[in-house]
Symmetry: none
Subunit: 117 residues, 2 copies
């Protein structure tokens, strides 16, 4: 039988660029990574240690995507034990207000639920 080909749905014209930003910060671990990097640059293992539960694979995956999105810069220190530092780019810094806003409302959501909404 013929392999059923998924209908190619054309991208819906986004009225507002919400998808643009959420495709950047929308992953499971991504916002946490950005949040930690927004404080200061960190090395791979530091991030892995700061974010309990994340696997090396996912951390790599997310960092690579963030690099591709131009929000994170990867800097290799050619020391004898190799060390790689990640930091937010200028563009990445612009995500901070959005992250902060999300954190803020996130707190209220938790409070609301704690109150037995």
């Amino acid at each position: 039988m013929l392999p059923r080909r998924k209908n190619q749905v054309e991208e819906p014209p986004e009225q507002c660029p919400l998808g643009e930003c959420l495709s950047v910060i929308g992953g499971t671990w991504t916002p946490n990574i950005i949040w930690y990097l927004s404080e200061h640059p960190r090395r791979f293992s530091e991030l892995k240690d700061d974010i309990p539960g994340i696997s090396a694979k996912m951390l790599t995956s997310r960092l690579r995507k963030l690099e591709a999105d131009g929000v994170v810069e990867r800097r290799v220190e050619p020391t004898s034990p190799p060390s790689v530092e990640y930091r937010l780019t200028d563009l990445g810094q612009e995500l901070k207000p959005a992250i902060d806003a999300i954190v803020s409302v996130g707190h209220r959501l938790k409070e609301r639920r704690a109150e037995g909404d």
Copy 2:
């Protein structure tokens, strides 16, 4: 007048409640739905028409989840042609700053890419 908010103390080693909020606005269509409802209440068909490409299934699914999250209220008008109106709750309104911040940075991401990033 708003009651004075809790002091923003720095978060303990606990992770920031990004997931709390992103689990609410993190769906593919969810932010758009919230965005449109933040302007004014809309009916089911209006939303479906305003958001090109969304299926009834997803619209229902997202609206039900937003209801469960307490950010959207469903109001049935018992008219002869049945009509259902959705609107943001008070809690839902609190998401607007986050949405706005995301929209804002979303614009910059688009601009940045348009510049031949």
